[in-house]
Amino acid sequence: MAETEPVDVLKAENEKPRQFGTGYKLIGKDYPTNDLVAKVTGRAKYAEDFRAEGMLFCRLVLSPMPHARVKSIRAEKALAMPGVKAILTPAEVPGHADYINDNGTRIKADKWSELALADEPMYQGEPILAVAAVDELTCAEAIEKIEIEMEPLPFATDPLESLRPGSSNAREEGNVWVRPDSSRGPEKLAVLKWTEEDFAAEKEGRMPMGHAPDEWSYGDVDGGFKNAALVLDETFLTPDVSHQCLEPRTTMAYWQNGKLFLYTGTQSTFQTVAAIARWMHMDEDKIVFISEYTGGGFGSKITGALTLVIPALLSKKLNAPVMMRVSREEEHFIGRARPGIRARTKIGFAKDGRITAVDMFLVSDAGSYGSGGDGGSCGSIASLLYQPPAMRWRNVTMATNTPPRSAQSAPGGMQAIAIMEPILAKAARQLGVDQVALRRANCPEGKAEYGPPNREGRRAYVTSCFLKQALDLGAEQFKWRERVAQQPKRVGSKVRGLGVALSCFHGGSTGFDGLIVITPQGRVQIQSGIGNLGTEALIDVHRAAAEVLDVPWDACDIVWGDTSKHFPYTCASGGSQTVHAMTRAAHAVGLECVQRLKEVAAKTLGGQPDGYEVANLRVFRKGGGPGLSFAEAARQAIKLGGIYDGHDVNPDVNKATKQSVAALAGQGLVASAKDKYPHDGDSYSYLACFAEVETDVETGVYRIVDYLGYADVGTVLHPAALGGQILGRSTLGIGHAIGQKWVIDPQYGVTVAERFYQNKPPTILDVPVNMKWNALNIPDPETPVGARGCGEPPVGGGCASILNALSDALGDNIFQRAPVNADTILTSLEAGRPMQDPLIAHI
């Protein structure tokens, strides 16, 4: 199954796609997931569906100002109302806490980080107060009786404007995040203003470029441009886009016997406990966290949401359960968003379309909290996906008084692809090179390197990349050549356009644990600490364990959604790492389980463990002979105790897994294991995305006629789920191209488009009925099972293939920003040049 030797370029080309499920009984096969019926029948309970006796409700008061100081709160009248129980003020919220980023890395808290309630709100819509009462109507009426005196402070909502001489800063300490020279420690705020001369380029519709605090480069960038047959220098703005999870950050909490019971949506059940503990300043073992179903996260709920502490604190204060339902408007503000990046990118191309050099300059908007502007990832993804031999990257990460950003499906990757791809498309047209051929010429392959060299002078590289095959097979399936040849392109006012885009993002991490109990009833009970965020990874990854155990799937029970049920050390579901990380852990614990079963059999029936094999829910002597059913083996394990029933534990596993094993001890054969498989390179997944659009040049309206995402995600674990991910996340990306956006009035720094009908996430009717996907199913050589994640990789390709199809239809003088809508197209067609300002934020 697992190949560990490096894959060189030649070998990568030799790897051939294979049918899904080849060589497996479970992996690569479709099946009804264990949560399916509950989801489609409405039986699934989301946080808002839970009730507890005596439950109170709380509602939030949001800051009406983008930056202000709360001077006083007068709530006497509100508190005197019948049914009003308490208010919660910023002073009652525990201080700053660490957080976990998209890759699961813990970031130390800094004084600039966010708290659940703010006394100096940094964006309009930031919660500043909560009120608990017997019902929400009482909460609302109470809130309207509260008088809050606020002192407006200087604010900035447009990052570029905040770089102008004399402009205001988002915070008193500054407007730009800079990394201390000495280390890669937490970033600090500083004041950065460019000069009027720096801004001169603005008049030509190009992004100005002043000083940038972050920079790296490799190769001979100047030489690359000198030797180029074509050099393009383009300005582009990617949109700030809210996550807009259908389930908002609703939370219910109560306390029992000193323990906090908390219900909310999360991407990562196990990892959220640590986050709650940090935010609440309490021990993890005093927290029971319940999250059976989550209505979407997309990076915004990697470990739940900070606001969950509000009902928890109110519940403690009132000694009663408290439900905090979060409304759609509140969700717009606290629900996180992708940072918009404005970019000036210069790319040199050889005659054949091969990139000779890239010079990328970014100004990213990190919003009101944290320095995560996605600029860093944007640079590294550009360098991986298009393999420029020389590249310079400069980045300015701005703080603004806009809602907080966080990772959103392919953070930085989405922006990189949306910035790079239209330039590649323009180059192909100018050089007369086919779009697919140009991408093939620049496509990463094998153990492709990326990013700048590290201190040792070595560049990072990936585990494997077979994107060229995906591009070729995708072009074939999409009938790219035939479509390109199809004439005429224009019929009446309708013009067709074709777009192709490469896409990639992180696809995995390593080092987590698996935990299985074989019960005396003979069931294979798999403990899953993964969040049920809609990807089905929660269940799919455990097919690897069942495969190793050679058991039928219907003999397996997945236990999830409630940390009192004891889970192993599990990755955070962010950065599309889960499928990769947790199939490894599942594989490891499957093997561990097999080994323990053999040992139990040997101890019970005699002989050596190696003389036994496991299949069909039995452990039996090789070549036939006596054996034990799983039920018998479990009972024997309990009798044997020690390592077999969890009274002793595999020393390799994480502390948390050990605690869970101890808690489950005696319930059957308890097996735990850590993923210790070798792993050379960084795991990424890739797609080639194809789109056809039909635009009406008289109305500016366009329709996506066809779409295909062809994936290189290693082994396909669960085709239906993978298809859902490829098309779902492509749609997320398409949303960036076709209309999703923020609208902020800069005079007041206040959002004016907080409803769906105003900020326009894509609807199901905005994508083709028969969107298509496919996958190579070439296993990643650096991981058992060979599967990598695919949540995020399609996003950039979804967006960019549409943008490229539009420029194919309408030419290069239409847009300099996304989304592209009727207004963009019509005004530009009228004027013969891009008319929508590429630099003004949030229009």
Partner: protein
């Protein structure tokens, strides 16, 4: 006073059974009453707590306001008839398909199932500043936030702005104007019937309302005369999303052709101005002209004369020009 949204305030819910009773309740409660048809507009206002009526008169139980009836001269559509029913109604599809097309493009299937024709023509403006509860002219204040040097006005008016630059959001309204529909209003002084285009009010006359309904008035029905039955119709709605979206602009026209020549025409656009615009200049200019692209070009240019774009909505000028052009050019196919 702190602000909170998304919690419906308490009010007295009145559910009359008859139109007479409904009108009487509205009259009795005057400014304190809120009349609710399908609720698709009302619930937004109420849940945001921006409007807090003392009483809500819910028309959903008034059966006589529902349904489509043939009259001696065309059809009468009860104000409480759902958009879905209208879109699917055989006679409407046959004789007044313009209206069927228009209502079929409203919002989403769910909203059309609940939304009514009366509600669709009587709905309030969707300017995001106004809807956000900002104290603008339309809300009784003294400022338009959309028309400022930095205002976000992509979806706003190119015509008819008078302090307020919000547009009228209805899809059915231009179709009804093109069909020369009559709006039947029950007022404290008795029944009043007005032409479709006279039902709507611009900000220059009344900046806080989009139509002529005063407290105590009730729109009961919309009559479509047979005069334009089976004419050559054209409806097009341009929106950002293919479903659940208000128009960036729409156009509705009814054309009578004799040979290839336009003998008579009515045409209206919406979302271009604070009220649906009947384009009389276009109607006059194309009468007697061939229904072809050339006439369409000419008409399109006439249609946009005097348009005043804001910072972010200049696209509406070519859009309107082209929509009018297409509406007239559509006659060519028919001919």
């Amino acid at each position: 006073m702190a602000v909170i949204r998304d919690v419906m305030p308490a009010f007295d819910l009145l559910q009359p059974d008859t139109a007479a009773e409904a009108q009487k309740l509205l009259q009795q409660n005057g400014e304190d009453a809120w009349v609710m048809a399908g609720g698709m507009d009302s619930f937004d206002w109420l849940k945001d707590r921006i409007k807090k009526p003392k009483v809500l008169v819910d028309l959903s139980g008034v059966e006589e306001l529902k349904g489509i009836r043939a009259t001696g001269d065309g059809v009468e559509i009860g104000a409480m008839t759902t958009l879905t029913e209208i879109a699917n109604h055989a006679a409407i599809q046959r004789d007044y398909s313009l209206l069927a097309q228009a209502v079929e493009l409203v919002a989403s299937p769910q909203i059309r199932n609940q939304g009514t024709l009366g509600g669709n023509v009587s709905q309030d403006a969707r300017c995001w500043y106004y809807r956000g509860g900002w104290p603008c002219y339309r809300a009784g204040g003294n400022i338009c936030y959309a028309d400022t040097p930095v205002g976000r006005n992509r979806e706003h008016a190119i015509f008819g702005a008078d302090r307020c630059v919000a547009v009228h959001p209805s899809d059915s309204a231009p179709a009804l104007i093109a069909l020369d529909a009559k709006f039947v209003i029950r007022t404290p002084k008795g029944e009043r019937v007005v032409d479709a285009e006279d039902y709507f009010v611009g900000p220059e006359t009344d900046i806080t309302r989009l139509n002529i309904l005063r407290p105590g008035d009730l729109l009961t029905a919309i009559r479509i005369p047979a005069a334009w039955a089976g004419a050559k119709f054209y409806f097009e709605k341009v929106r950002d999303r293919n479903v659940w979206d208000f128009p960036l602009m729409n156009v509705a026209s009814a054309m009578k052709l004799s040979g290839g020549t336009i003998s008579d025409m009515r045409i209206a656009v919406n979302a271009a101005a604070p009220k649906p615009m009947r384009l009389k200049a276009v109607e006059d200019a194309v009468r007697g002209k061939p229904a072809n692209a050339e006439t369409g070009e000419m008409a399109g240019k006439i249609a946009v004369r005097g348009a005043v774009p804001l910072q972010f909505n200049a696209y509406k000028i070519p859009l309107m020009r082209n929509l009018v052009k297409r509406a007239i050019g559509s006659g060519q196919e028919a001919a």
